[in-house]
């Protein structure tokens, strides 16, 4: 079973969200998602300053096998992208919850994070996916 930190929130499309406590969130893809994708060879990062709807297309992760879309877990503005992934996309596989983060977002409504899945609820989603 993949690793699911309890302090994170999750989406059905396999993103994780961390509340940074300063009005921003950090997001990435789950350990389950990186395992399913296989070796990540390219991450198309969102442009800083871009405003997204909840569920809007935020970027793309490409593995050797295929391309997968990334979706915004919350509506808001991109405030930072993890440009280290441009040269080292495999970091998403090696450290999905830490060095492999994708972007930081300033949600228009931070409270909406409470509507996302907790680790137990996401575990059920990931299980059905297998």
């Amino acid at each position: 079973m993949s690793n699911l930190p309890a302090n994170l929130r999750y989406t059905e499309s396999h993103e994780w969200v961390l509340d940074n406590g300063d009005g921003t969130v950090t997001l990435g893809i789950t350990d389950h998602a990186q395992q399913a994708l296989g070796d990540v060879v390219f991450v198309e990062l969102p442009d800083v300053g871009r405003t997204l709807e909840s569920g809007g297309e935020l970027g793309v992760i490409e593995s050797v096998k295929a391309a997968s879309d990334l979706y915004a877990p919350l509506a808001g503005e991109i405030v930072e992208a993890n440009t280290a992934l441009e040269d080292a996309p495999e970091t998403v596989n090696e450290s999905p919850y830490d060095k492999g983060w994708i972007a930081k977002l300033k949600p228009s409504n931070i409270e909406a994070i409470n509507d996302l899945l907790d680790a137990d609820a996401y575990a059920k989603v990931a299980e059905q996916d297998d």
Binding site: G38, V41, E44, E62, V64, E86
Partner: protein, 370 residues
């Protein structure tokens, strides 16, 4: 949707943790726990074992089967020596490609390996084309490919006689007690062997080969990236009924004896058009290799443009090439843009990404020619 077929190695794939996907009507492993990239790298540096039992194995018997098959394929089969294998194309009346295949010349028979998705159609095509004097049958056998620079080291231990063969040679052997047919060939760009084995022996043979320390089980994902780096076509993607052998850069699959000035000119479907294209070189498009300047993989179906923004072609296969270390692709572009070193632009998610036309194969082949 009809139920998917299983190869004789289905249970082994599941046991090894293979991720099973539908492919050409079969349930096949796309990858094992090692993952596509490491499986690819392992095959390039050591030795990979591939289940290709889904491919069609056909036997043709009848009077002078080599001359008969030449009525359907553009290759020189009459000139093929007994015990040798050759790449061939079933051509259509319009000059397109109906399937690509391997032909082995045996004593009084031909042994063919065809694509899984084309097998039934090829069988019907052969039966109609060759007529009732010929017996064409599908062999219910397993087929394994042992590929990589260490494949011969493995073979030396289990069937040393097979190591005397050079690239594209074929013979019958006993491998670790199993009666097998082996050819020194493959579809990865590496030295290696393709081993046809009785259906009930397939699992035992695969387990015996996997016992060797160099050998890892490899899935379809790595098979695709390996053949792409080797510049080899995937039927239904890089070649099909709409592409001619000349457009596809497969003129070498039209035997010299079958071309103008040869001993047996034409005589295969679409020969007029294909031989005209070989002489006149007036075809509009050509299959080329492409290497991306950036890191984003450029996939099948991506449109290609020139510097001025005119559409010049389309990608037919594309992935990240683990050995090349860059995204690689093949596709068709107008002949004016097909020269190696030429810059083209691939439209990926609204952006025009620069790519360079490159010679194929993208990697140096390791074929053993003695």
């Amino acid at each position: 949707m009809s139920e998917l077929n299983k190869t004789p190695l289905y249970a082994l794939h599941v046991e090894l943790g293979g991720k099973m996907v539908p492919f050409a009507g079969y349930e096949m492993p796309v990858q094992f726990p090692l993952g596509v990239k490491k499986e690819h790298e392992h095959t390039r540096s050591a030795c990979g074992l591939f289940d290709v039992s889904h491919m069609g194995q056909l036997l043709i018997k009848g009077p002078d089967p080599a001359a008969a098959l030449e009525t359907l394929v553009s290759a020189d089969i009459v000139g093929l020596e007994v015990g040798m294998q050759r790449y061939a194309l079933f051509t259509g009346d319009e000059g397109g490609i109906l399937d690509d295949l391997m032909v082995v010349r045996g004593e009084g028979h031909l042994y063919l390996v065809v694509n899984a998705a084309c097998r039934d159609q090829d069988l019907a095509h052969l039966r109609v084309g060759l007529g009732q004097d010929y017996h064409v049958e599908t062999l219910d056998r397993g087929l394994l490919a042992l590929q990589g620079p260490r494949a011969a080291d493995v073979m030396k231990r289990v069937c040393p006689e097979a190591c005397d063969m050079v690239f594209m040679q074929h013979g019958r052997f006993t491998l670790a007690g199993f009666p097998v047919w082996i050819s020194r060939s493959g579809y990865t760009g590496e030295d290696g062997f393709e081993i046809s084995v009785e259906k009930d022996d397939t699992d035992g043979l695969a387990r015996r080969l996997l016992d060797e320390p160099e050998v890892e089980a490899i899935g379809l994902g790595a098979r695709d990236s390996l053949r792409l780096e080797a510049g080899l076509c995937l039927y239904g993607h890089d070649i099909d009924t709409t592409t001619t052998p000349v457009e596809a850069g497969l003129i070498w699959a039209v035997g010299k004896a079958r071309r103008h000035g040869g001993e047996r000119v034409g005589g295969f479907p679409g020969a007029d058009l294909i031989l005209h294209q070989i002489d006149a070189r007036d075809h509009d498009r050509k299959r080329v290799g492409l290497v991306a300047e950036g890191r984003a993989p450029v996939r099948e179906g991506t449109e290609l443009f020139d510097e001025e923004g005119h559409r010049i072609g389309e990608v037919t296969s594309g992935s990240f090439g683990p050995t090349v270390g860059k995204p690689v692709a093949m596709g068709y572009v107008s002949v004016a843009h097909a020269e190696a070193g030429n810059r083209v632009f691939a439209e990926v998610r609204g952006k025009r990404l620069p790519m360079t036309v490159a010679r194929m194969p993208f990697v140096t082949p390791g074929y053993y020619r003695g």
